[in-house]
Structures are given as structure tokens and as C-alpha cells.
């Protein structure tokens, strides 16, 4: 299979994002049993760990990719790569904006209906708004990388 440097980079980002934040999501569900204050501390710690792990994994794998494709890494994509990245950014942006509107709506509803607050919920997740925004951002990134890969593959295999 003929894969360009930028497509390999998109694959690395997609796979690492899905794996790391999949682990994050699973770990997060385990925090609902903890007392609220301890849950908040653990959730914050988990968020920090996940972000750090993402930075390390992305940096290591992209450095390995650049070392094995030195010439392509120096070119750092051409006008077609930029065009594909632009289209993918549009797709990711739409998802991000949608999530932000949903979270804003939730915040307004909670402001006027305190009985729906997280503390009164049967499934309590510490810092739920932060996690919703985080997952919205991650989901938009997944859509962005997925859109990039889809466009590269579409060009490789036809419409």
C-alpha cells in the first residue's frame, strides 16, 4: 500500500488518540464510586496523565516516522496535503462547534434547573463538564484525522 508521510502521520495520531482516550474513558467510569472530593482529585490526575501520555506517544512516534522518512519529513507536505488538511479541519471544526453548543446548553439548563446538577445524578462523574469538553475536543480530533485518512484513501483507491 502506497502511503504518504502525511497519511502515516495521520494514522499515528488517530490510533494513539483512540487508544489513549479509550483508556481514559474506561478509567473515568471507575471514578463514579469514589467520594466526590477524592473523585475530583483522581479525575484531575487522570486527565493530566492522559495529556502527558498523548504528548509523549505522539512525539516519540512522529520522531521515529520523521527519522525513517527524512526526505518527506523535510518537505513537510505539499499543496495537496495542505488542501486535505484544510478539508479535514473543516470536518473537525463542525464537530467541535456542535459539542460546544451542547455543553453551553447543558450549562444554561443546569443554571435554571439545579435539581439536574451532577451531584443529584445517580451516575455521578467528577468534573463532568470538563470531561464533556475534553471528549468533544478528542472526538473532533478523531473526526479530523479520520477525514484526512479517508481523503487520502479515496484518492488512492478511486471514488
Amino acid at each position: 500500500m502506497d502511503i504518504s508521510y502525511k497519511e502515516k502521520s495521520a494514522w499515528i495520531s488517530l490510533v494513539s488518540t483512540v487508544l489513549i482516550f479509550g483508556y481514559y474513558l474506561i478509567s473515568l467510569t471507575g471514578l463514579s464510586d469514589l467520594p466526590p472530593e477524592e473523585g475530583k482529585t483522581q479525575a484531575l490526575w487522570l486527565l493530566g496523565q492522559t495529556l502527558l501520555l498523548t504528548v509523549i506517544v505522539e512525539a516519540v512516534f512522529h520522531a521515529m516516522l520523521a527519522a525513517s522518512n527524512r526526505r518527506d519529513a523535510e518537505l513537510d507536505g505539499d499543496e495537496r496535503d495542505q488542501w486535505i488538511a484544510l478539508k479535514a479541519n473543516q470536518a473537525g471544526y463542525r464537530v467541535l462547534v456542535t459539542v460546544i453548543w451542547v455543553v453551553l446548553g447543558r450549562m444554561v439548563i443546569l443554571e435554571f434547573n439545579p435539581q439536574f446538577a451532577d451531584e443529584n445524578s445517580s451516575i455521578y462523574v467528577p468534573m463532568l463538564t470538563v470531561h464533556l469538553l475534553m471528549f468533544g475536543f478528542i472526538f473532533s480530533e478523531v473526526v479530523r484525522f479520520g477525514s484526512q485518512i479517508w481523503q487520502y484513501r479515496r484518492e488512492a483507491f478511486g471514488d
Binding site: S4, K6, E79, R80, E155, G158
Partner: protein, 72 residues
């Protein structure tokens, strides 16, 4: 209204340029080999700058490399 499409003779011109490789053309033009491949397949229409550079590599006027013709 007739739909038009951009077609090109890049593959043919590479053949007549002593079977120039896609990689060699890509390096001279400053794009990736996959972009040359996409242009040849008609999957990607290059910018004017890249189109002029491709024509320059083969020593041909632009309209002999790229044509805007009625589609099927």
C-alpha cells in the same frame, strides 16, 4: 450546461522523457510522489504554480500538458 474537466498528459510526457520516474518529477516540482500519482490519475488538479512547474520540467507550454475539455 456542459461539465468540463481537467485532463493531463503527464504520464505520457514522463514516458517520452526517458521514462522519468514519478519521484524524479516530484523532486523537480517540489511535491510528493503521491501528488504526482494523484495528478496523473486525474484525482487531483494542481495549483497553477505546480502546473507551470510540471510544464517547465518537460519544456512544454502549459496547454500541451493540461487541457480543459468537456467531460463525458
Amino acid at each position: 450546461m456542459t461539465d468540463y474537466q481537467i485532463v493531463n498528459r503527464v504520464r505520457e510526457l514522463r514516458f517520452f522523457a526517458d521514462e522519468m520516474t514519478q519521484q524524479a518529477l516530484a523532486e523537480q516540482v517540489g511535491v510528493t510522489r503521491q501528488t504526482i500519482m494523484a495528478i496523473e490519475k486525474g484525482k487531483y488538479s494542481p495549483s497553477l504554480e505546480v502546473a507551470f512547474k510540471i510544464a517547465q520540467v518537460f519544456g512544454q507550454p502549459l496547454e500541451r500538458v493540461f487541457q480543459y475539455v468537456p467531460g463525458q
